[in-house]
Point group: none
Chain length 221, copies 2
Amino acid sequence: MIRILVVEDETAIRRSLEIGLRAHGYDVLIAADGRTAIQACTEDAPDLVLLDLGLPDLTGFEVLRQLRTWSTVPVIVLSARHGSGDKVEALDLGADDYVTKPFGLDELLARVRAAGRRAQTSERIVTDDFVIDLGAAQVLVDGEPVRLTPIEWKLLAVLAASPGRLVGRVDLLHQVWGPAYEGETNYLRVYVANLRRKLEPEPARPRYLHTEPGLGYRFTP
Amino acid sequence: MIRILVVEDETAIRRSLEIGLRAHGYDVLIAADGRTAIQACTEDAPDLVLLDLGLPDLTGFEVLRQLRTWSTVPVIVLSARHGSGDKVEALDLGADDYVTKPFGLDELLARVRAAGRRAQTSERIVTDDFVIDLGAAQVLVDGEPVRLTPIEWKLLAVLAASPGRLVGRVDLLHQVWGPAYEGETNYLRVYVANLRRKLEPEPARPRYLHTEPGLGYRFTP
DNA sequence: GGCGTTCTTGACGGGATCTTGACGTGCGAG
DNA sequence: CTCGCACGTCAAGATCCCGTCAAGAACGCC
């Protein structure tokens, strides 16, 4: 079940979105202000966020900015303002799409499907030595499933989501442990070592999980 | 350089898109009809496609459908039709975004950036001897990744960010080491030499990392 | 309540990296 | 021609960072 967080303070719009989305098979979470929205993202990890720009406490921009410091969840911004300035700002802050009110439910649903389609990261990553199945949340080494602890899995998923790219130490800690652990580089050392022991054919000479001294780590298939 | 394929039959719009995109640092490929567009995608592998729906031979929908059978390149659809039917169809066929004419260039550029960000198209600088991938934070010499220390990488990134431009010694020290190191021109000598040893085919006779005596350094691709 | 797994934390050694200074070289000015 | 300046080169010490290990704490499951 795909779970969508609707962030909207006007009750009427919120209700109609909720009903429309539910009718098309989505699970709907609700937040009426920015603080609740951010909290909901940390606790419930929705698959997609519909974010209204006009909120009572924080602006939608601020919610988006805070969200993007640690999360890559797809965000579709809803706004009554047609000006291009808002669009540019929202998109550059990391929004995936921008829809101006009033909008048709069928168009919104199409954009939700488009965002969801993009978000599913190629599901399976295959190397010579193991297979990472993002959807099933498991790793096969020589065809045999390997037991990974929750943190090990999350760390691997974050690294594998950007194959070939350097992922900074701060980014990793932020996404796996949370915003409060940005200095704990110890964790990375320990858990990267764990992953290597379980995945690499030669843990002492890593082929897939490379370390970039002083910067972070890189997964290369 | 990020390469964008513009598929548009109206000369006026095509020209203005080409000029606008070029001015913002994109490499622009052109196709005036559907067949040419598909051919260009197979041969030139652009990083992103701007697709007009009204084409002389095939419809934009048909181009998109054929493209999606084998390619996952991000596609932004341009259309004069505001009806939601077209939007829904295009998005469900695999378009990443849908923009209705007339549109502002700044909005289009923001959507291009958003699409590129999602697809992780990274800025690359290609020379005869090596490739600098700024997004992945990696340098390839003869196809093989080269180990750069954090400072070496930062220095190269700053120089490569202004290709062909002179970068003053103070600017370099400021951006790489920090405001407190503005007098340490020794560092530049040492680390530019390191970079040359790792990148230049003939470190003694630099082809890419030129020094401007008394002023600073210049990277020329 | 007991047990096993997982997470946290700290210490240690080895290796890579940064810093620092000395020396050589080429060029232009005097 | 000689001098001085700026850059290139090199090497060695200090420092930082990473991999490793192990032990205690926290957690979840029966």
